[in-house]
């Protein structure tokens, strides 16, 4: 894009290097960001994107390299220095303090006197300017995810940053909210001549919203270009360092237009599901109701999954998926309704009843509920089947290692040692640990909640392969996902959830983006 190159360089990073122990997170990274452009930063998990930004914000001490801001070399030792210089960042996690009010969060990190009325006025003013309305006196814990994102943006924009950094800002947003965000960003660069760094995994977003892209791979800059001069496929290839061939995976990355997604389901999957259609369902949920404080989180939810079938549960985050996940993990008891596995009604009041009946779960938040970061790879691989390595109450280290070794080989888990803590593995390998463990119990039903969330292309590809393989071996897979393309690529049928209800179940052949969109919006189609 011609415009971008004419603009002055706002920020220039040269030779930034950061080493964590033996991991070179950033290896002599050069990055130039111009005013008036949205600069996409792309890379697999662990490519070093977040580390680079943390160095830039003074949250991490770099080992080498220089930072130039408007042509002048600068030292940034803490986020306040960064802020004072005009760098603002919207973090994906942990950046709002819930019991505090909007205005208090917004002024946090400033210096000087605290002036409430001025802060409130500013919040309203910034909100008006960018179309981000919010009540400054609300407490954060009363806000929705989208509103919180608004507060984050206001907090940054209020400080009039010349460089605005957003780390995966859309992962909690609805499609409409994402579009709204991008239009704000566009205004910010075009009308106010700021620079924006947008970190994302979604190729579609990067291609649609950015002016230039830098791709990081294993801590090094692999590729940089003007967005207009590249394609999503090319970016994906640069990111992983090889061709991404499977159509399904390309679809998941947002490379394929949604309209064509309806026919993206592979013949393999369709035939598999056809073969098992007349068997009794492996999982049947009937009229499940979960309430919290009188508000139904799940409302008369019914759903079946046949053996060997992958059923997608599609919907915008926060419509009851998490609650359903908790019900199926045995953590929450429905106030009415039944869960049947293999034709038998499960007594949910008995602990581990679901697990015994043959239900495996890949939970949504890996670190939170998938792995124990400080336990070893071997321990994480066996903890669900720990009974198999136990005799007389004692755990056999030998048996544990044998099982773990088999799984690690089978699932291609890359680790320095089976005794290394899971913390030391990359995200994709951690997810493989979870999947291996869940499938090692030979479940008849597998619930996979956002199984590719935060994974890079290579890992996603691998995950899809394994889910398919599981299905073809007769496991009933319920794929909970917020990514339309993912659902379309993998599933034979899609159930749409909205406000805790199933608003419709479509076979993949009938599913079009329009129909699904209406169902997601809660309108039966």
């Amino acid at each position: 894009m011609a415009l971008a190159t004419e603009q002055p360089t706002a920020l220039q990073l040269r030779g930034i290097t950061k080493v964590y122990g033996s991991v070179v997170a950033c290896d002599a990274v050069d990055l130039a960001v111009n005013s008036g452009e949205i600069h996409g930063l792309l890379g697999e998990n662990g490519a070093g994107k977040s580390t680079l930004m943390k160095v830039l914000l003074g949250l991490v001490n770099r080992d080498a390299g220089t930072i130039e801001y408007r042509g002048r070399q600068v030292e940034i030792n803490d986020p306040q220095a960064a802020a004072a210089m005009g760098l603002g960042m919207v973090h994906q996690h942990f950046s709002l303090i819930e019991p505090l009010r909007v205005w208090e969060n917004v002024v946090l990190g400033d210096v000087g006197k605290v002036d409430r009325s001025r802060a409130c006025a500013q919040v309203e003013e910034v909100g008006r300017r960018y179309g981000l309305p919010i009540d400054p006196l609300q407490r954060i814990d009363q806000l929705s995810a989208g509103e919180r994102q608004r507060v984050e943006l206001i907090k940054c924009l209020r400080r009039d940053p010349s460089v605005l950094i957003l780390d995966e800002p859309t992962s909690v947003l609805t499609q409409a909210e994402s579009l709204e965000l991008f239009s704000v960003l566009r205004r910010v660069v075009q009308e106010e001549n700021r620079a924006v760094i947008l970190i994302s995994h979604k190729l579609a977003e990067i291609t649609a919203a950015t002016d230039r892209v830098t791709v990081l791979r294993k801590g090094k800059v692999a590729f940089r270009t003007a967005t207009a001069e590249t394609t999503a496929q090319e970016l994906a290839r640069q990111m992983v360092g090889r061709d991404v061939s499977l159509r399904a995976e390309a679809a998941a990355l947002g490379v394929l237009p949604v309209e064509r997604g309806g026919r993206a389901g592979t013949a393999e999957v369709e035939s598999a599901s056809a073969a098992v259609a007349d068997l009794p369902p492996a999982l049947r949920l009937t009229d499940l109701v979960v309430e919290a404080g009188g508000v139904p989180l799940i409302d008369k939810l019914s759903l079946t999954v046949q053996p060997g079938e992958i059923v997608g549960l599609y919907g915008v985050e926060g419509n009851g998926q998490a609650t359903l996940g908790e019900v199926l993990a045995g953590l929450v008891h429905p106030s009415s309704g039944t869960v049947e596995v293999g034709g038998k009604v499960i007594d949910l009041s008995r602990p581990k009843a679901l697990q015994r009946a043959g239900l495996g779960i890949v939970p949504e938040d890996r670190h939170h509920s998938g792995v124990v970061l400080d336990m070893s790879v071997a321990e994480n691989l066996v903890f669900k089947t720990v009974d198999d390595v136990t005799s007389g109450g004692f755990i056999s280290k030998r048996k544990m290692h044998a099982i773990a070794q088999r799984l690690a080989t089978e699932y291609n888990i890359i680790t320095s040692s089976l005794d290394a803590p899971v913390r030391s593995l990359s995200g994709g390998n951690q997810q493989r640990v979870v999947l291996a463990r869940e499938l090692s119990g030979n479940p008849s039903v597998l619930i996979a909640a956002q199984p590719t969330h935060g994974l890079d292309v290579g890992a996603i590809e691998d995950m899809y392969l394994r889910l398919r393989k599981a299905a073809s071996s007769g496991v009933a897979v319920l794929l909970v996902s917020t990514e339309l393309e993912e659902v379309m690529a993998l599933c034979a049928r899609v159930a749409v959830i909205s406000s805790g209800r199933i608003t419709g179940v479509l076979s993949i052949a009938e599913a079009t983006a329009e129909r699904l969109g209406m169902l997601v919006g809660g309108i039966a189609a």
Binding site: L59, D78, P79, Q80, A82, A83, M89, H91, H93, F94, S95, L96, I97, E98, P99, L100, E104, V107, L108, G109, D110, V111, G112, K113, V114
Partner: protein, 304 residues
Amino acid sequence: MSAVTDVETILSSGVRLTVPLAFAACGEYLAERAGTLNISVEAMMLGGAFTSIAAASATGSATIGLLAGIAVGFVIAVVHANLSHRAEINTFVVGLALNALVLGLTSYLIATSSFVSHQVSQINIPGLRDIPMIGPALFVERWPVYLLIGIIPLTWWLIERSRWGLELRAVGENPQAADVTGIHVNKRRRQALMWCGLLSGLGGAYLAVGEVGSFNQNMTAGRGYIVIAAVIFGAWRLGRSMLGCALFGLADAMRLALPALGVTLNDEFLIAVPYLLALLAMLLFATQHRQPRALAQPFERGST
């Protein structure tokens, strides 16, 4: 005796028993809002009490004693803060060790040296002191008592209105978020703890050089723990915490005055009352408490 005098007696005694608790509770409140459940407040008070008498004895000035007591509370806090919010050693380990250390050290020093009694002077506020019931309680006191008039609003202002206090609350609620916002989490926690040290030192010093005029072994006799109970009783609100101190102080005053009025109650039960009340308050008003979410959770960069 008239009922008025009885009330006056109990009230003024209650005030005197409350004041050392209130000073320290302001400090403990600050520390807890920043996320530190500080159990070394007992050490800070006892250290402050001992030093105030030692320094007053050496210099002949009770006021210097008071200042020295504050300083020692501060020093203990600096040690605690650096060990637990810089070197990241479990705060309870540090707290327990400091409590044992200060009790041992003051007992040791009092056994190897001798000190002269000293007491700060009393201020009577003419006119006001003649108000029946509350007059003698509130307007005939040793001068440091009147510091509370400044310290309680100051504590409130620091927490609720100052930037420092806003950051302190942020650090106590969500240290990870505070960190990325550019707040030096452990620095703020250290600072809050240091305030706690200053105020607890003052509480202890007031007890020795203000209230009693001398020091004896283990003089604070567990007041630090009562202070913790008061802050919990107060559900992490300053006003209610102060109310807790007053309640515990008054309960003690009643316990000590009632026999003189011809009533006897079970001593053991009455001594246990503050702890029971704190626990009961947590149980009964479970939904209302505003416990800082990161209370007693250490912060380490990059741990999440």
